[in-house]
């Protein structure tokens, strides 16, 4: 399955690894912060309404 990357395998693989890792981290952080704020805001809205 792996294509023959020749002597540049390190370069190609590491650049894919670095980029994909960075994108995944960015997406994960964005989603986590989004979830956290949804929960927080819901809690605050609840408190304002009934508090």
């Amino acid at each position: 399955m792996m294509p023959e990357l020749g002597k540049y395998a390190d370069a190609v693989l590491s650049s894919y690894a670095v980029s994909i890792a960075l994108i995944v981290v960015l997406v994960a952080l964005s989603i986590r912060r989004s979830r956290k704020l949804k929960v927080e805001l819901a809690a605050i809205e609840e408190r304002v309404k009934h508090g």
């Binding site: 399955m1 190609v12 650049s15 980029s19 960075l22 912060r33 605050i44």
Partner: protein
């Protein structure tokens, strides 16, 4: 029906929520297919060997790094002229994404440059201007973080974005000039675009589409987050008053 209706945060959240699944799925499909196509099913270049596969990350990331700044510039202008909060928050949301794209472009460029040019880094005009662009992103993000009042921060950062854009363009030309001055006749041309054959360019387009969709989805998501954060701060402030 005009685009300004989306200046209403509630409406923005509702619409983007509806769009988000399509964007996310589209981004994943395009990214995966573009990268897989590029990684597994393209031949090696006769001169560059397998390193040509890096192009599917390097070029889209570089494109998005610049386009993200342009989008921030437009959003800042909209904020200054029409004072829609969503616009300012969208600019804020886009900045970290653009910064990460710049890092990806720089990192893949360095990794690519190592075997091709025999060095991780040369002070080539393009490389240098990307580094400078990254510094602009850092300053912009730092200014947002530093100011507590939302409206003040939005005003200041949007003016910084305008001034920064002018100076970024100036820097681009300054650097172009500077390098020609230093290495006359140096032939580290980065202009691969002209030589890219169809075998390489087709997966590249798919990959670029994936990066664009990913960027839009991320900006929508992060803008929603910023809107919620702002509302939470406003509610807490009101609570303290009563």
């Amino acid at each position: 029906m005009s685009i300004w209706e989306y200046a209403n945060p509630v409406k923005f959240i509702r619409t983007t929520d509806r769009l988000m699944p399509y964007l996310a799925v589209g981004a994943v499909i395009c990214l995966v297919s573009g990268l897989v196509w590029g990684f597994f099913f393209t031949p090696d270049d006769y001169r560059q060997g397998s390193t040509v596969k890096i192009i599917y990350l390097h070029v889209p990331a570089a494109l998005m790094a610049i386009n993200a700044w342009i989008m921030m510039l437009v959003a800042s202008l909209v904020w200054i002229v029409r004072r829609h909060h969503v616009s300012a928050l969208a600019a804020r949301a886009a900045a970290p994404v653009g910064a990460v794209m710049t890092v990806i472009a720089l990192a893949t460029g360095a990794i690519w440059g190592q075997p091709m040019w025999g060095t991780w880094w040369v002070w080539d005009p393009r490389l240098t201007s990307f580094l400078i662009l990254f510094l602009f992103y850092l300053g912009y993000i730092a200014l947002w973080e530093a100011i507590e009042d939302d409206d003040t921060a939005a005003d200041l950062t949007s003016i910084l974005c305008l001034v920064g854009s002018v100076f970024a363009i100036l820097s681009r030309y300054a650097v172009l000039f500077w390098n020609q001055g230093l290495h006359q006749g140096a032939s580290l041309s980065l202009d691969k675009e002209e030589h890219v054959a169809d075998v390489y360019s087709n997966p590249l387009y798919v990959s670029i589409a994936g990066f664009v969709l990913l960027f839009i989805a991320l900006v929508f998501l992060r803008t929603q987050t910023e809107i919620r954060a702002r509302r939470a701060r406003a509610l807490i402030a009101r609570e303290r008053l009563t």
